[in-house]
Amino acid sequence: MAEVREERVVAAVPETPFGERSRLVEGVRAYGLIVAMWLRSTMAYRASFVMTAVGNFVATGFDFVTIMLMFAHVDVLGGFTLQEVALLYGASATAFGLSDLVLGSMDRLGRRVRDGTLDTLLVRPVPVLAQVAADRFALRRLGRITQGLLVLGYALLALDIAWTPLKVVMLPLMVLSGAAIFGAVFVVGAAFQFYAQDASEVQNAFTYGGTTLLQYPPSVFAKDLVRGVTFVVPLAFVSWLPALYVLGRDYPLDLPRWVAFLPPLVAVGCWVIAGLAWRTGLRAYRSTGS
């Protein structure tokens, strides 16, 4: 048995204390392992997967069909054309779709707390956040991303944009930072469920509600609402500000031009807050057990 023990120490227990960096690496690795397992099982039922992914694509597309139906009656909405709205829509839907694919399972946390299965995650040697996020990874959510990208593509083809290198860079920057901002919202929402297990719906107001809001031009909404999603829950940085920059349109609230380049910083800020919220929530769970 001595041999075995020695081997275990070398192979299984990293001797260095877990710093922030290695925790992150550990988390990403565990996330990848769990996702890979779900992918394997999804692929075992390929027909079922194709059907639900196509269904997800069509069903999430109803949002854009609604906008097209609106434009069957009007030429402009809040001063924006269909093609311009399509850019806003495509950017927001793609960013949200990405975060939904990666972290969409987080809203099950409340249920896990209630039925006690969160405990089984706490006895494993990998970060709980990674385990919760990867649980039941649903590849069918690619449907929403595909749909968002198609609308984005349509907007870019249909619009006559005076392209500059900065505007070109802005497109991927916008989608990725936007996904990160939405992702942070998912994590904060999940952290909130440590305290209110039945409140997963509040999260929907910010995630699904947020993406719905961002699909329309800011000129449609009341100033206070726009202020709220700029300064309090910074969803305006997901797509509104960068997309308005690309379109060369005026910003709401007389914001300066350079704010369009803030999304990466805003995303980092959101994740710092999300990380703190998650830690606080998990600590509270571990001291109250409920």
């Binding site: 048995m1 023990r5 275990r8 392992l33 397992m37 099982s41 706490l122 039941r136």
Partner: protein, 325 residues
């Protein structure tokens, strides 16, 4: 840490704030001391039963030992590690089986769960194969590996869970009600497996249970917890003495008769009469033989059986005698 103090608890406490709704908007706050100053040591390689009535604090203790819950007070070490502070480091060295809920992935075949454990715990390939083969053989998991966990029976799932907890060669195994709801065959298989595990690999085992037979067959040492306090720590036999527990002699007479009287035996009393059948309580430590002989001499005896005290009643009696001091 030396091997004698493999698991150490010194005055460990866990206090919960319970909020209860008493009116439409009014709430009442109450402090519940789920674990109220528990101290014990478990040496490496020992198998210990941890028992007590529902809500006594068993699960809370296990949750603190695994690092799920942070203690409110006291000192706690497992293999020299503070579980709540270094939870993920400890996770490599412990195995946990929750009888009520599975650690396996519900919708996926058993094999997928094991494959994931393999990577997640970074188990060397050869060790993993060896451990899995051994568990599959001893726990009869072969035909179940490709079956989604949700389709397994409770006994099958429990065996699957025990295997999952052991793939990474844990030094300690915590079992929370490992035989609850299992049929006799599954229980026997699980117990046999645990005994071998402890003997061959000297894995330290701490198990909570409602089934006294689990303890009798597996553990030399038993700890009893009630109202968050350790009320007994010692051999199982001693538990009966401390608890002043009673066994029950069930006697079937030829016909209905008044309650049996054995004037010279004040510690024996009739607790129930139902037609020709009578129940007599007598001290667990006493032998049943002389009692049976006396009854057979004075009464028309047809049949008889002796019932062992169940764990709940032992503890209940112990608690009564404890608070009487």
């Amino acid at each position: 840490m030396d091997d004698m103090d493999f698991i150490e608890l010194d005055g460990v406490e866990k206090v919960f704030d319970v909020r209860r709704r008493t009116g439409f908007m009014r709430r009442e706050r109450r402090e519940v001391r789920a674990v109220d100053g528990i101290s014990f040591r478990v040496p490496r390689g020992e198998m210990v039963g941890y028992i007590g009535p529902n809500g006594a604090g068993k699960s809370t203790t296990i949750k603190m030992l695994t690092g799920i819950l942070t203690p409110s007070g006291g000192r706690l070490r497992v293999a020299g590690i503070d579980p709540s502070r270094e939870r993920t480091k400890l996770a490599h060295r412990i195995g946990v089986v929750f009888g009520q809920r599975t650690t396996l992935w519900w919708d996926l075949p058993l094999r997928d769960s094991y494959r994931l454990m393999h990577r997640m715990y970074r188990i060397p390939d050869s060790r993993f194969r060896e451990n899995l083969d051994r568990c599959v053989e001893l726990l009869d998991l072969g035909p179940l590996l490709e079956v989604p966990v949700r389709q397994l029976s409770l006994g099958q799932r429990m065996r699957g869970d025990i295997a999952a907890a052991l793939l990474h060669d844990p030094e300690v195994l915590y079992l929370d009600e490992p035989t609850i709801g299992l049929d006799v065959v599954s229980k026997a298989k699980v117990r046999g497996f645990l005994r071998d595990l402890n003997a061959e690999r000297s894995t330290t085992v701490l198990l909570t249970t409602h089934d006294l037979t689990d303890i009798e067959q597996l553990c030399k040492r038993v700890m009893v917890i009630d109202h968050g306090r350790l009320v007994y720590d010692g051999a199982l036999a001693g538990l009966h003495e401390v608890g002043e527990s009673e066994r029950t002699l069930v006697v079937d007479l030829e016909r209905e008769l008044p309650p049996i009287e054995l004037g010279s035996e004040p510690s024996v009393r009739v607790v129930k009469v139902e037609g020709p059948r009578q129940w007599l309580a007598f001290p667990a430590a006493a032998s049943a033989a002389p009692l049976v002989a006396r009854i057979a001499a004075d009464y028309p005896l047809v049949d008889l059986s002796v019932r062992e005290p169940d764990i709940e009643s032992v503890i209940a009696r112990m608690y009564v005698s404890d608070s009487a001091h």
